[in-house]
């Protein structure tokens, strides 16, 4: 289904320069001035505007009745006592809500798994919302919630994902017939032959435990229905671009009837601020009651039934290798606990396919991914949602092989790294790694961490009877690609083709960057021209926002360039150009993490998708130019940068959909 909002018209804007600030000269502006963060001023004075601070006149507050059972049939709900309390305006149950709304969006084709803000007929996790009490104040709403009497008939429940996957396990959604929400098996290459060649294998099971990032601000939503304009205004603590569409879909109103105020300050998210059920419930109540409605979770509601819990993944990794420690094939089985409602979480199981063998030369691979439901709170995108769990599993297996062979674990990794001279390298699942120097990155990590001292420190601690250890991980994640179209080390000019893809697959950003360094009075003139091409949902945000983002990106690029040139003796000891070692498609973690985390490219909450897509490009840019820059080390660069920027915004590509899923 495509909504009209997704379609951004073709736009081409040529911007010769972006002038702002006191230091600007016509056609040029200074970059890299030390600066403060614009929003900090309002935060240190207590003038931020978080969702709890938004209270339109006449606002009613919501309190929630939540389930104490992991799985139970809801026999009856008695709201009579609650409605007698002065100040309680309404009590709404799941049945009433379900009659007038659509289920919340699942990203799998599982029509029998119906996820709604308030449970209908049965509750499937402790903390699930059963009824909403609306009152003059939150305190009165809580009074009301306390006296709503729910008669539950407890049902068998399943907590353990391995148990859930078995046939005799209690079913979380009986009409679906199984707890398995998705299961896919992949085989790439001649696994049997590679096993035969290996002769030996080690199998390691690991678990990436369910965890949370716990933002200090809980989730909240305020909704107000304008019956004369048919517009639902929503203020929420969100970071999710699909929020308006999904709220509209659930409330059975057109998406252009939902106006989400994206300028609300968010008190931390770390991936968990999705809040679809909160938005739909508040929106429903606001429409039904004709007054603004505010739903702010307390900490207990947040931790039990809110968007809070991260993935819980069980891995079994079987690594085959020769007596010399050469890896020949790998099998990765993963079982992911989605909680009671899968939402979009199973899509993440597809992500490791892009780098299924990590940084290693492994000619074949098998990958078996299973997503199951359990009677636990639904999984959301707690940080570390990408490839981290898989990296952890692979690296644990590599360590086990080293132990089995009695080989040094770093030596074993070096032996199996794809060599700097082997690029471009196509891994069995099809991704082409463009370039990289993994042994070089490892050397650097050892040097920076001062491994010798660390080992000595570890041994000292052990001598004192304490437990101490040092872990290693070499991993690789698909982020984007960058390649040189043209490079002239003498003239210090390069054209780089960079491609980043939004991590959830709903948009992409490509850039063609021409960068030139010229001697100038008092420094080096950094001349960067960018052609930025954004597609997918990101494009709907329009060119002015994209311009801002792009400028910020280029600013950041130049800032880092300056740090590198101006750093004198502290300049990184990179020898020669390394187009993307560490920065893009084929970097080994360490420098990749550095490049990405250091970049606060997009400061506006309106562009969370670009926030994920563009850093990859910026990282690629930076990595790509290090070699050129280091060759021109000068004490100081504060030169003006000219930034002609061209934007081309085509029609978007298809809607978010992982090819992994059936």
């Amino acid at each position: 289904m495509t909504t009209i909002d997704e379609q951004a018209p073709d736009m081409t804007v040529t911007q010769e320069s972006v002038a702002s600030g006191v230091h600007d000269e016509p056609g040029h502006r200074y970059l890299s001035q030390p600066g403060r963060i614009r929003e900090d001023r309002r935060f240190v004075t207590g003038s931020g505007c978080y969702v709890a601070d938004i209270t339109p006149p006449g606002t009613l507050q919501v309190g929630l009745v939540t389930s104490p059972h992991p799985h139970a049939r809801i026999v009856s709900i008695d709201t009579e006592e609650a409605l007698k309390i002065p100040g309680v305006v309404a009590v709404v149950t799941g049945a009433e809500l379900a009659a007038e709304t659509n289920p919340l969006r699942q990203y799998l084709d599982v029509p029998e798994v119906q996820w709604r803000p308030l449970a209908v007929e049965s509750t499937r996790y402790a903390g699930e919302w059963i009824a909403a009490v609306v009152a003059d104040s939150r305190a009165i709403a809580e009074d009301g919630a306390e006296v709503v009497v729910v008669d539950y008939e407890p049902l068998p429940f399943v907590m353990d994902p391995e148990h859930a996957a078995q046939d005799e396990a209690p079913l979380v959604h009986p009409s679906h017939g199984t707890n398995v929400m998705a299961q896919r098996r992949f085989v790439w290459g001649d696994v049997d032959a590679d096993r035969a060649r290996a002769g030996r294998s080690t199998t390691v099971t690991t678990r990436w435990n369910r965890n949370s990032t716990v933002p200090l601000e809980t989730f909240g939503a305020v909704a107000q229905w304008d019956q004369h304009r048919d517009v639902l205004d929503v203020w929420a603590s969100i970071q999710m671009p699909q929020f308006p569409d999904q709220v509209a879909e659930a409330l059975r109103i057109p998406s252009n009837s939902v106006r989400v105020h994206f300028d609300v300050d968010v008190g931390g998210s770390y991936g968990v601020k999705r809040g679809i059920k909160h938005g739909v419930l508040a929106g429903f109540l606001a429409r039904r009651l004709g007054v603004p409605v505010k739903l702010i979770e307390d900490r207990s509601e947040n931790m039990h039934g809110g968007d809070f819990h991260g993935p819980d993944r069980l891995f079994e990794v079987e690594l085959w290798y020769t007596a010399d420690g050469e890896f020949t094939t790998i099998r990765i089985d993963v079982l992911d606990d989605e909680g009671a409602y899968p939402g979009r979480s199973p899509l993440q199981l597809a992500k490791p396919i892009g780098a299924i063998v990590g940084p290693y030369r492994i000619p074949s691979a098998a990958y078996n991914a299973t997503a199951v439901t359990t009677n636990k709170t639904g999984q959301v995108a707690v940080r570390g949602f990408g490839q981290s769990p898989t990296n952890y599993a692979i690296e644990a297996a590599v360590d086990a092989v080293a132990r089995d062979l009695g080989v040094d674990r770093l030596e074993l990794r070096r032996r199996n790294f794809i060599g700097p001279d082997e690029f471009p390298y196509r891994i069995p699942s099809g991704t082409e790694y463009d370039s990289g120097d993994y042994p070089g990155v490892l050397d650097k990590a050892i040097e920076i961490s001062d491994l010798t001292s660390l080992l000595a420190e570890r041994d000292d601690l052990r001598a004192q009877g304490r437990l101490a250890g040092i872990g290693f991980a070499a991993c690789l994640e698909y982020q984007g690609t960058a390649s040189f179209r043209e490079r002239d080390d003498v003239a210090h000019r390069a054209v780089i083709d960079a491609r980043g893809r939004e991590q959830k697959g709903s948009g992409s950003a490509n850039a063609l960057i021409t960068a030139e360094l010229k001697p100038a009075e008092g420094g080096t003139l950094v001349d960067v021209a960018t052609e930025l091409n954004v597609s997918g949902r990101a494009a709907q945000f329009g060119r002015s926002l994209l311009a801002e983002v792009s400028n910020t990106m280029v600013d950041e690029f130049v800032r880092r360039l300056e740090v590198m040139i101006g750093g004198g003796d502290d300049s990184p000891s990179v020898s020669g150009p390394e187009p993307s070692a560490g920065g893009s498609g084929s970097g080994v973690t360490g420098s990749a993490a550095l490049a990405q985390d250091d970049l606060d490219v997009v400061r506006t909450i309106a562009l969370p998708m670009l926030r994920k897509g563009l850093p990859a490009i910026a990282a690629a840019l930076i990595a790509g130019l290090i070699g050129m820059v280091v060759g021109r080390r000068q004490r100081r660069v504060a030169g003006p940068g000219r930034i002609p920027v061209t934007y081309v915004l085509p029609y978007p590509e298809g809607r978010e959909r992982a090819s992994f899923l059936p």
């Binding site: 004075t45 207590g46 305190a139 601000e217 809980t218 900490r299």
Partner: protein, 166 residues
Amino acid sequence: MTTDQYVGLEVNGEWRNCATSARTSLADFLRDQLGLTGTHLGCEHGVCGACTVLLNGTPIRSCIMLAAQAEGQSVTTIEGLSGPRGELNAVQDAFCETHALQCGFCTPGMVLAVQALIDSNPTPSTEDIDEAIGGNICRCTGYVQIREAVATVVAGIAEEDKVSTS
């Protein structure tokens, strides 16, 4: 339960007299009745420190104190630290300068905890600083830059003293 009573107290230098229910927390009173939304609620059980305000100059958690308990006393909220035209005071300025915040949700409580420290001890040791902010949770920064902010304020005070005595 909903019995209202009058509470009179000084908030940011101004005397305020308001009717409120006996069970209203000081935090809810400040936020909902006086509109001082800079006081944030993170946990509502005295753990996270986001709701910190100064009661007669001492940091307290306004989520676990009743408004009625503040009767006749002096409360300073984050809104009371800056000047009439939004000028930042030294602590606020140092937080901005050292990037001691990201999402800003813990910041008001953090700034007030530091303010109370500086007011009572202009030359705090590292341990004093850690102790002063030890009751305030920040999920974004990792605390290093917050310590830096305090050090910046302390250095500023030392510089001022040098100037005034020379």
